[in-house]
């Protein structure tokens, strides 16, 4: 695997080692400093969020303990690195716990929407016909309502009567977010369906199910990874927007979005409470978008090394 392009041009080479697109892509990714940095930052953010119980224990702070005597402490106050909020809760602890909620809601909603989107995309692209028409009609309907309105209304209807609002929110985001993925995967499937290896698989009698999941699905790998990264980012943004408006994650469960709900009234008393939650949303979404772009470039078969 150490063969380089330069070596290939050496005359009378005995044989060349074939490299798969994935090997090439991974090598390109390893050289892409920006994407690696984004992956690193995202990893650190996730690690800090999910080790929050250990960190807060060590710092001796809690994300739920209120303290009426210590509200709106500034950054660097003794015992509270990032100060405290309007109820005297430690801001850093709340940011870390909120990260758990925001990141996992985005991740699981994306997993759900990808599962639906990829399945529908392959099925409609492969079979076409009636099922394709029905799914296209559903997509046209769902996309003609501006996304945030749709999310607002559905979550308002479902979240009020739900015993576990966080899980419901994941379901709502997942079940409404698959349309773009379906369109992309459907388009790819339409072109893969006509390739020689699919035709030969059909000729030797492979079932439709086998062709779809053994021959077509693996070839969608790069599309799926790219869409997944961008989807997690967009869903984190959607969750933050909903929670900010008071229709997503509800207090006392902290999320980066709902930590900003009352932020307008903190302008004079604690501006640091406005800055950090949004900065963390921005940073994680930015990293995910950069990773998505980087993976797309790495898997681009027309790219040159």
């Amino acid at each position: 695997m150490t063969t380089t392009v330069a070596k290939l041009n050496v005359p009378r080479q005995e044989h060349r080692v074939g490299e798969s697109l994935t090997t090439l892509a991974l090598r390109r990714l390893r050289r892409d400093k920006l994407t690696l940095l984004a992956m690193f930052i995202l990893f650190v953010l996730a690690l800090l969020s999910f080790t929050a119980p250990i960190t807060t224990n060590w710092l001796g702070v809690s994300y739920t303990r209120t303290n009426a005597a210590e509200t709106f402490l500034p950054i660097g106050a003794p015992g509270h690195i990032l100060g405290t909020d309007d109820l005297g809760r430690d801001h850093l602890a709340r940011l870390l716990y909120a990260g758990q909620v925001s990141l996992s809601v985005g991740f699981f909603a994306a997993v759900l929407s990808m599962t639906i989107g990829v399945t529908l995309g392959i099925v409609t692209g492969y079979f076409g016909g009636f099922i394709d028409d029905v799914v296209n009609w559903l997509i046209a309907t769902l996309t003609s309502i501006p996304s945030l309105f749709l999310l607002l209304i559905v979550s308002a209807v479902l979240l009020n009567s739900s015993s576990s609002p966080t899980v419901t929110l994941v379901l709502v985001l997942g079940f409404l977010g698959w349309t773009t993925t379906t369109r992309l995967v459907r388009g790819e499937t339409l072109s893969i369906r006509e390739r020689e290896y699919v035709i030969s698989a059909r000729a030797i009698g492979a079932s439709s199910l086998r062709i779809m999941f053994v021959h077509i699905l693996p070839n969608l790998f790069s599309v799926i990874v790219v869409t997944m990264a961008i989807d997690i980012g967009s869903l984190i943004l959607a969750e933050a927007g909903l929670s900010f408006l008071g229709l997503g994650i509800k207090p006392p469960t902290p999320s980066w979005g709902n930590m900003l709900t009352g932020a307008r009234s903190f302008f004079n008393t604690g501006p640091h409470l406005v800055i950090f939650p949004g900065l963390l949303i921005f940073l994680s979404v930015l990293c995910l978008y950069i990773i998505g772009d980087g993976v797309r470039d790495a898997f681009d078969p027309t790219a040159k090394d």
Binding site: N160, R264, F282
Partner: protein, 358 residues
């Protein structure tokens, strides 16, 4: 051309029905439904509750209820001799509750005739309340679209002309950042800086309160528009600049560009007169998605900036469980989106001579 437009309009009919069914199912799935919303007062007796239910027709089969909401019920039960007593009916029994007296004639006109019912919360006709707020949303949306195009297009052209140069890289980073930034947070930060710390721009609202009557001066209104327009336009700027760059790069590889350069025209003329004009054409198709994006962004932007438009109205209605308002906003924004898509396709076909209507 006319044929094409009519065909596109006919194609939207299934989508329109999809949206109405979806909105209708959502309202019936809402906790308690309309009866609970109207009889929230604990002093309501069961008899009163029954009467409200009968008036709203919630005991009718749901296809009839859906039809009533969609097309009204003045043709389902009517009074032809003007004595105030119903004497004809279609789909509905004349005497629904079996007390020997016919039910009063239907008065609803249905959403396809602009009757969105009355707001549970404000007890007013929804369509009138929407009319009061459309202008504000239009003002904000149009200025954001204008800003998005006015900044995005030149940035895209310059980025394509200086491909892989520092300007191209800078605007690429900017576009990703603009897409990744939560717009409510951007709004809050801008209000914090310009409204609270520097105090040079208003913190929200559409106009300053006018106590003496009359219209506030124009510059005051522009002052109130600056921050929300910028916040709402970030997404549009990001999309238009990237799209314009791709389109311009596409055009720059065309033969006629090389011809223009080889006849000795100045680079500036080649880029802007031959290049940019043709690169702009595909951008027409972005009008539809841009309108959807602006409407979705409006909900958050209007809420942060206390802008009295449709978006904030919808957010409040959702919180107050004011379903007639919510459904009206859904239907109206969905129709504007569909029309936006059709308009952008027609516009595209009009300015690109290579497209023929088949």
């Amino acid at each position: 051309m006319v044929k094409y437009t009519i065909r596109r309009l006919i194609q939207t009919i299934p989508t329109f029905f999809g949206i109405t069914i979806f909105a209708y199912l959502l309202m019936t799935a809402a906790p308690g439904g309309p009866v609970a919303a109207l009889t929230f007062d604990p002093r309501t007796t069961p008899q009163q509750r029954e009467r409200v239910a009968a008036q709203l027709g919630v005991n009718d089969p749901w296809p009839v209820q859906y039809l009533r909401w969609l097309a009204g019920d003045d043709w389902m039960r009517w009074d032809s001799d003007g004595d105030g007593v119903s004497d004809g009916s279609f789909l509905l029994p004349l005497d629904a509750d079996g007390d020997g007296e016919p039910e009063p004639p239907g008065t609803r006109k249905g959403i396809i005739r602009g009757d969105f019912g009355r707001s549970f919360f404000y007890r007013r006709d929804v369509i009138g309340m929407i009319g009061e707020r459309v202008a504000a949303t239009f003002e904000l949306g149009a200025s954001a679209l204008f800003l998005g195009v006015a900044v995005g297009v030149p940035v895209g052209i310059l980025a394509a002309v200086n491909k892989s140069g520092w300007f191209d890289n800078l605007t690429r980073v900017m576009a990703v950042c603009f897409n990744a930034i939560p717009i409510f947070w951007l709004g809050l930060i801008l209000i914090l800086i310009f409204g609270s710390w520097l105090g040079i721009l208003p913190m929200g609202g559409r106009t300053p309160p006018v106590l003496t009557g009359g219209i506030p001066p124009l510059w005051e209104r522009i002052n109130h528009l600056i921050l929300p327009t910028f916040v709402l336009a970030t997404g549009t700027i990001a999309i238009y600049s990237r799209y314009m760059r791709a389109s311009m790069l596409d055009v720059m590889s065309q033969d006629y560009m090389r011809t223009a350069t080889s006849k000795g025209l100045a680079a500036r003329i080649v880029w802007f007169k031959h290049g940019a004009r043709n690169a702009l054409i595909p951008l027409a198709t972005f009008l539809g998605p841009a309108i959807t994006g602006l409407l979705a962004g409006a909900a958050i932007t209007e809420t942060i900036f206390s802008w009295p438009g449709l978006g904030r109205f919808a957010v409040e209605a959702v919180k107050q469980q004011d379903y007639p308002v919510v459904m009206a906003v859904v239907i109206i924004t969905a129709i504007s989106t569909m029309l936006g898509y059709i308009l952008s396709d027609i516009f595209y076909a009009l300015i690109d001579p290579r497209i023929r209507f088949g």
